[in-house]
């Protein structure tokens, strides 16, 4: 089946998940469009991170199917899938050594087909200059670490980047700069971005497509501007209002 531009990057059908006896995802049917910045928003405990972790098989659903580029991800090689679908964690973990060592480690795990960027290109795509390459990775600020982990995820030349609350530990100003970088990645490097965030303003500013989750269910999904300005669901409107009243 040829893949056309309109096909989603990910297609989830009837996805359910249980963790420690609690249902975290209940019957998710969802398409995540390709070459866009998709924001997954919702109250804490809605299942945002649980959903994100399914997309490069850090976890598996207890029911249902996840398709990546039209193929069930369970049928792909899990290592190849993870190289094509990168993951940036909420709390960045630096490997031992310099920033360059971090990036080269990640690159050595990818396919040696010449698509992987050089360490210098990777660090620049993540919004840091090359002088960072020779610094010790564990001696950097939170914002810099998050950029290094972004650069590291780019070293396998992924088609999709999954970002799990990448700015939650950052100052608002640093967070905003990171989001600018993320937007550029989507447009310049043609990477599909799926990011979980609890900051609605961030989702609205950075994303082109938004998914609202609540209690393990998709409440509404659509183009960000439509979802924020004229939501279809009453529940969405209430959520947006409720959140906007918060300081």
């Amino acid at each position: 089946m040829p893949i056309t531009a309109g096909d989603p990057a990910f297609r989830l059908r009837g996805v359910e998940q249980e963790r420690a006896g609690r249902r975290t995802l209940c019957g998710i049917d969802l398409d995540l469009p390709r070459r866009e910045v998709v924001a997954i928003v919702g109250p804490s405990g809605a299942g945002k991170t649980s959903l994100l972790r399914l997309l490069n098989r850090l976890d598996d659903p207890s029911k249902g199917s996840v398709l990546f580029e039209g193929k069930p991800i369970a049928e792909l090689s899990v290592r190849a899938l993870r190289r094509r679908v990168g993951f940036v964690f909420q709390t960045p973990v630096m490997f031992a050594g310099t920033v360059r060592a971090n990036l080269e480690t990640a690159r050595s795990l990818g396919e040696a087909d010449g698509r992987a960027p050089s360490a210098a290109d990777g660090i620049r795509l993540a919004g840091l200059d090359e002088s960072f390459l020779d610094r010790a990775a564990d001696r950097m600020s939170g914002g810099e670490r998050q950029r290094v982990s972004l650069a590291r995820a780019l070293m396998t030349a992924p088609e999709v980047l999954l970002l799990d609350e990448p700015t939650s530990a950052l100052d608002p100003e640093v967070a905003e700069q990171l989001m600018t970088t993320v937007r550029h990645l989507a447009s310049d490097a043609a990477v599909t971005i799926v990011m979980v965030t609890h900051r609605l303003a961030e989702a609205r500013a950075a994303s082109t497509h938004t998914v609202l989750l609540e209690a393990g269910r998709v409440i509404e999904t659509g183009p960000t501007e439509v979802l924020f300005s004229s939501p279809n669901e009453e529940r969405t409107r209430q959520y947006l209002l409720g959140r906007e009243r918060l300081p």
Binding site: L58, V78, R79, V93
Partner: protein, 265 residues
Amino acid sequence: MSQTGGPIDLSWIDLALASALVLIAIALSQWQRLGLARGFMIGAVRAVVQLTAVGYVLAFLFTTRRWYFVVLALLVMLLAATKTATDRQRSPFGSLFGITGVSMLIGTGLTLAYVDGIVLRLHPWYDPQYVIPLFGMIVGNAMNGAALVAERLTSEMELRRGEVEAYLALGASPARAAAEPVRRALVAALIPAVNGLMVVGLVALPGMMTGQILAGSSPNLAVRYQIMVAFMLAGAVAITVTATVLWYRRRFFTAAEQLAIRTEV
């Protein structure tokens, strides 16, 4: 066994005289109200009973000289050591009896076979006078190594869960993702073996050497035996801990190469 030029005979009456030394310990604990007098008494009785029983078993093995009795005794020693090691391990996956037992079987079995067949060239190969005490030392050290390496891998994997998952998320194999925890667990388990080689004869006067000298061997021969024992223990521990850690590592990952320990979401 009284041989010509062997040790002075030690009768039960002589042992009764020796027990005066434990009585001193008991009296001291009473006087200082340490609450250990009872422990000393029970311990002294247990030492007598256990060692006497072992003496009968060894005497039986030495007189019957049947390979199957010797192998059975080795297996019982291995099982007891596996149980002890397993009790000291902490794992999120329940008991590691199978992993520990088979790893110790590999490490101790290979080492004993090498010492038996290549170093000492025993005739017969199951000569209990050599095989039983050598295996006792090997299995005791392997037991400590297996307990330590599993305990350490558990804590390193828990501590470095984020790092391991970051590797997995980049498409790394589980072996690559767990390389640092495995390395640290191996170092922790092998350091006692290195230290053992370093201080032998300086801090620790090895029991086997002392025993041989008491039994009338020449000190030079006793020393050569002790050197062999030191090498043998290093090899046995290295094989056992490596087998244990590489096998145990697999438990931390699912078939789909996901971390099998809970992530805090």
